[in-house]
Amino acid sequence: MNVETPEKPLASWRGKERYDCEQLDCLTIIFKSGGCSWSKCWMCSYRHERYGKTDCAELLSRLRAQLAWVIRENKPEEYRMVKIFTSGSFFDPVEVPPAFLADVATAFRGKLLIAETRPEYVSRETLVSFIEGLDDGSWKTPLYCAIGLETSNDFIREKCINKGFSFSDFTSASSVARSAGAGVKAYLLFKPLFLTEGEAIKDMETTIRDILPYADLVSMNPCTVQRNTELEYYWKRRAFRPPYLWSVLMLLKNAPVHMTCDPLGGGQKRGPHNCGKCDYELVRGIRDYSLNADRELIAALLETECTCKNEWQYVLGNESPYCMPLTR
């Protein structure tokens, strides 16, 4: 287990992403970093993915090695968009040495870049200088700060996610980002801990309305049970059930904007799932919709017949916070 392998990102893959009515080839990279400074969210296991005790210089050199590996493996002409994740925040100077930002900007100059960060690390100064390095005029908004707002409800974000920032932290960060010429992408978490299916749906509906003024892109993540998380602790004790795919479909269909959604672990026990019979088709449909934004597709999927739909409707109407989850 302690075998040294050549430095490379935790993961990196290529795919398609919808942007501005187009489908772009996209390179996604998850850098192994110094680790999330907050590191307390109930559902997050990425926080365990970090270098152990290292000094800043060593961290920088390892990050650079990862970047070099990515550049080596992917020809620049094969992708137009880059999505960057770390175990925490790309713009957190403790987690990602600032010097590395410049490297990244240079490496992906001319690409459309989306980088995930907590709102507290969104500073005008950092973004301006980063965009400077990145922007070659190809894109109106070459950088999006992707923030895991999860919900606009501070109580839920606190109790059910333990996120450690508020909705106003998010709106402030949004202003800062925009003022620096960056866009804002909001990640929403559908059905964190301690919510009934119905509560979670209502929360998403409210949240989507609440964030419209502050977010340019919206992505909704149906909650998945990752290993070694508080969420997993409760899930193993039957205190949590990932959301139904029916619910996901309903939210996507009714949302006032197009939301992307990648149902990780879809159809499996740990991911958003229905009964197991209808899951495969629905997961594929949701992925398609993320790219093609075809509302009719979503509406049609929601009309699909399956024996578990009754169950889902019953759960929507009858699952209460004092007796949940009703199903597995």
């Binding site: 109580f155 839920i156 109790k159 301690f194 919510l195 009934t196 509560e199 602790y233 409760y234 004790r237 039957r238 205190a239 949590f240 024996t307 578990c308 009754n310 169950e311 409707q313 019953y314 759960v315 009858n318 209460s320 916070p321 004092y322 007796c323 949940m324 989850p325 009703l326 199903t327």
Partner: protein
């Protein structure tokens, strides 16, 4: 204000009447709980799983206005007598029997006894027996309605696809009209009615030992609860009057069986100056003395030895205790085979008994499994047995051998009363001069015209008169305030109670102005942790 009157107890289970203001409901019951507690319908964002740590519970203590009191394993009790308490999320507890039981015991111990317990979304025809057995009273239709939505047909024996409705397994109005939801609700109500009947018959354990076989988790819950013996024992009545069905391996773990064995070992005092013991097999007929075989044994022994009956699942029953519950009440399948667990349990009891009480001679008038157990016990205790039979202990050869073995031994005094007093009250009473009258087992004990005790033939327990109580130096006293009870003593009047008192025990009520005899209606712990209801059913009152 909500109100809860407990009517009949059977271990942790009970029947009662609950009133949340909308009129009384008989419990156990499945009902629309949101009708009883309108606050339930509007509760939101209050979920805290049973497995949540104390810190989270403190930070977000769940509560519902116009709702039941929410209890949680990690939270101090906030309920009062008469409240309805809700173990939110209890339906998830089944998945881990150890947690189920640890949580249950913790919650029961810190919550007032006379609260009505609501287990939301947990009741199914398959689960409601063990839920009532665990001490829950109120249920909703959430779980059965969910099954209906899932197209599942519910029975107490398990769940089946909806088309099972057409196979004749049930003929309720729901089934007649193809209405699955109505059937499932009906099936739940029926099972609750059945459970209530078994509670009233004080035989719910029997039903649970049957029902649990369809779900491994329920077996585990039953077994874990048995292992919480101190807790479980307190809730058991001291006696029941029906048959105790000893029909499964778990019967040996029943609190009442364990209590009997423990009391025989710790409280019971054998007849003084009696140093010869005969180990005898049990009989199907109870009390043993009424069986043909025991009449022969007693004739052969002629009072020249102390008679000890070796039996499964009780272990050892001294002759004096043969009428006492459950010795006079158990019914056990007889196949001649004693399994290793029975042998280990029973030989352990025998060994401890013989280590404690030294006899000069011990004659094993046994065969088969009982003999094996006696040999095992002798080896453990390091004692020597004599053997007086080779095959049928009630056959003429064995009886002659037994008679011969006792040749020369002198007759010892019959002293049933002494033994029973030691067992029931833990008292070593000098019973000299007290004689028994009546026809076995309906006996009275008196000296001259003074009666001291009579026997309750239903339970086999002694009922002391005031003179009887005077012989029992301590224990089994309930102290009351400065008043003269009219009829039964109610819980609010009780100021103290011997912690040894169990539901059904004979007790002496002592107050400044009266002395009274009676029978406890609930265990000492519950007397002190409840607010309403009868504490002691009074038989006789004497003003001081």
């Amino acid at each position: 204000m909500t109100k809860f009157d407990i009517r009949k107890r059977d271990g942790l289970a009970r029947t009662g009447v609950f009133d949340a203001g909308a009129g009384p409901v008989q419990t156990p019951v499945a009902t629309d709980m949101e009708f009883l507690f309108p606050g339930l319908a509007s509760a939101s964002f209050i979920n805290i799983p049973l497995s949540a740590p104390a810190k989270l519970v403190e930070q977000y203590p769940p509560s519902i206005t116009n709702g039941p009191v929410i209890i949680h394993p990690q939270r101090k009790n906030t309920a009062e007598s008469g409240d309805c308490v809700m173990a939110a999320g209890w339906h998830t507890a089944f998945s881990n029997p150890r947690n189920y039981v640890d949580w249950l015991v913790g919650l029961k111990e810190k919550t007032p006894a006379d609260t009505a317990w609501y287990a939301p979304a947990a009741a199914l025809p398959t689960t409601v027996a063990i839920l009532c057995y665990s001490g829950f009273d109120l249920f909703d239709y959430t779980a059965v309605d969910l099954k209906s939505a899932q197209g599942i047909f519910c029975t107490p024996e398990g769940e089946f696809p909806a088309n099972a409705m057409e196979s004749g397994i049930c003929t309720c109005p729901g089934c007649k009209t193809g209405n699955l939801k109505e059937h499932n609700r009906e099936a739940l109500r029926r099972e609750i009615a059945l459970v209530a009947r078994f509670i009233r018959q004080a035989q719910l354990r029997d039903l649970v030992e049957s029902r649990c076989r369809m779900e491994a988790n329920q077996v585990a819950i039953m077994r874990y609860l048995d292992r919480h013996d101190t807790f479980t024992e307190q809730a058991q009545p001291i006696a029941r009057s029906g048959v105790m069905r000893a029909n499964s391996a778990e019967t040996m773990q029943r609190a009442e069986v364990q209590r009997f064995a423990e009391r025989v070992l710790s409280r019971y005092v054998p007849p003084p100056k009696c140093d010869v013991a005969v180990l005898l097999p049990c009989s199907a007929r109870k009390p043993y003395s009424l069986s043909q075989s025991h009449r022969r044994f007693q004739q052969a022994i002629g009072g020249r030895a102390h008679e000890l009956i070796v039996t499964s699942p009780l272990g050892l029953v001294p002759r004096e205790l043969e009428c006492v519950y459950p010795a006079g009440h158990y019914d056990v399948p007889v196949t001649g085979y004693w399994d290793a667990e029975e042998c280990a349990f029973i030989s352990g009891i025998l060994a401890r008994y013989f280590a404690r009480h030294r006899y000069r001679r011990i004659i094993a008038h046994l065969e088969g499994g009982a003999l094996l157990v006696a040999r095992q016990a002798a080896e453990i205790a390091g004692i020597t047995l004599e053997f007086s039979c080779t095959d049928d202990p009630a056959g003429p050869a064995a009886l002659n051998a037994l008679d011969a073995a006792l040749a020369g031994e002198r007759r010892i005094k019959d002293n049933h009363l002494h033994g029973m007093l030691s067992y029931q009250f833990g008292a070593d009473v000098d019973t000299k001069g007290i004689v028994s009258r009546g026809r076995f087992p309906e006996l009275f004990y008196s000296k001259g015209t003074t009666q001291f005790f009579s026997i309750d033939t239903g339970t086999g327990l002694l009922r002391p008169t005031f003179d009887g109580w005077a012989l029992i130096p301590e224990g089994y006293r309930v102290t009351i305030d400065d008043f003269v009870p009219e009829g039964d003593v109610l819980i609010p009047g009780v100021t103290g109670a011997d912690p040894a008192i169990r539901d059904g025990d004979e007790v002496l009520i002592t107050g400044k102005r009266v002395l009274a005899t009676g029978r406890a209606a609930l265990p000492a712990g519950e007397m002190l942790r409840s607010r309403r209801g009868v504490a002691v059913r009074v038989r006789k009152i004497k003003r001081l």
